[in-house]
Amino acid sequence: MTMEPDNHDGERLRILAPAGHPLTRRGFISLAAAGAGALMMSSTPAFAGTMNALEAAARKSLKQIGKTTKSLYLYTWGQYDNPTTFSAWKSATGIPIQIGSYDSNEALIAKLELAKGTAGYDIIVPTGGYVPEMAAKGLLMPLDKSKIPNFRNLDPSLLNFPWDRGNKYTVPKDFGTTGFIYDKTVITKKLHSWQDFVDAAALPQVAGRVSLLDAPDNVLAIALWIEGVDWNTTNAAKLRAANAYLIKKLAPYVKNLDSYPGATGGLVDGSYVLSQAWNGDARAALLKDPTRFEWVIPTPKSEIWVDNWALAKGAKNVDTAYAFLNYVLDPIVSANEMTYTGYNTAVKNVKNYLPKNLPEADVIFLTAAQRKRLESYIVNSSYNLRTQLYDNFKAAIAS
């Protein structure tokens, strides 16, 4: 928890929870740390200022939409929003937000599909690549952007992705990238590419201390990018060949499949010295020991993922949901979210509302040059095969 010295920009958030914030993309939070953080925050005048700004944004959003229902149901990833975003909304509008949580897009889809529009959720948070499938299954409601004036605050380069042309269904919530992080005290050679990653894994001082994301698409991508194959290919032979490459070159050296090697401490305590990671999680390790680790967005290609707000088919509180979406697209709210999740939002100029000396900021904010070689995975008909290949890869690690 660091404090920014007082400055003159009234709306700038002064509090940020960067150092060792246990939360990363989806999920992991140490309750003790979160509790301590909340305590510290609520006892500062800066906190009161932030709450006032958030409440003003909530009131403004509600006023714009006019009459609404008095409830809102949100179905999202566990611990994926700043609690103050919700509490400020409730105290300003009087509308409570009921939150349900899931831990995978698959679980989200299964729940909505089984309920056939009666799940009762208004707002959901799917990852970009799952949107076409969800749209085809009729689980999403098209957005009326005239009801979200703050949509104009969004960075155009983070709109209109192939998985939702024209943002018919989704509003970007936050985004990040996939790369790897390594311990410079163990790996002295500078690493740049996915090929470097695979080669380094076999080094005697590294073997057995490698972790990969526990995500089938991200793991298979390593081989596809090395071999120059389209990440979104449905070609079974190419997918099988890529998996065979991983089983031969990577499986023997993998210690674990761990989506949070930074936040949960595997890198810091030395269990891992080379880890595939999402940028926000890698930053957690960098914040704990900035000189020891190196973060790489590898060549030739890597991932940009976007988690999105969307309206569920059958939503009962549509106007309230629009007011809420407008609220979270307000830069002050967006900055409040960033301080909690550690991921960049798609709101333009959100930087202006954050502390100026944000540590390891270059891990969060991607440059245009980096953005150029990032692509997204869209769930396609090879899903079953990919799951089966991932099972094979897991069996190879275990045996």
Binding site: I109, K255, N256, N380
Partner: protein, 294 residues
Amino acid sequence: MRGFVGLTYTWFALWFMAPAAIMLVYSFGRTAGLTQRGLVNLHHLGLGNFLQALRYPTGTVLVISIENAVLATALCGLIAYPVAYFIARKLGPRSRVIVLLLVVLPFWTDYLLRMLGWRIFLSPLGLLYGALNALGWHVTYISILDTRSAVMVGLVYNYLPLFILPLAVVLERIDSQLLQAADDLGATRWTVFRTVTFPMSMSGVVAGTVLVFVPMLGDYVTPTLMGGARGLMIGSLVASEFTEGQNWSLGAAMAILLILLLVAIVAMAWLFVTGIRLVAFRLRSRALAREWAT
């Protein structure tokens, strides 16, 4: 009383047999939709899921799971026997109750919590690390978690009470006059144990083995929490077909195959025990017949 028994059967049929039957039906279905996943389509029934379930990696993972379960069961037996012997033969009635209570005491805490407790204890810079360093045994970090050894620790820890309890009951029931008689006839303590106590406790050993081995083989929580990627077992593989795979029909087929395998193992254990009894009985009657003939 009869009404109560009827209720029990209804309860069992409703909440155990019915879900199992649904699984069986699902295992012949097919997942449908854009990405060939999601809800099970029952319009085209077939054996495709079973064929896919039999292919690699099911076999590899099953072999690993059987190895783990056999080893962990053996460890459970080796630890449980002396403990059960001590409880049944060395303790007075009152202290016996107290010790048995201590054996089942961990069951009063949630299983997940106990496993997470082990994770904290064994974590690289956790309590064990602290204790070892405090005792002057310097280690850089503990690397037990997320290995097969960690799975073994979890399995033995979790199932040990289930081995101790039936064994203690059987050992307690052995008539001490028989041991006395053996002693009177000049048998050493080891001979008494080898020829009287141990053979008479075999039913407890078999009961403990089955009670421990069967749930171990299908265990999904322990390998998932303790073993990470290196501790994969068949239960985790089945679960991943239902969750991240969203391929319920394939998951159902794998579960059905696992159930069949376990039924076969239990049946073999039963045949083994009755077979031994039968042979023993035949030999004894033949010997008696010969005695009478002379």
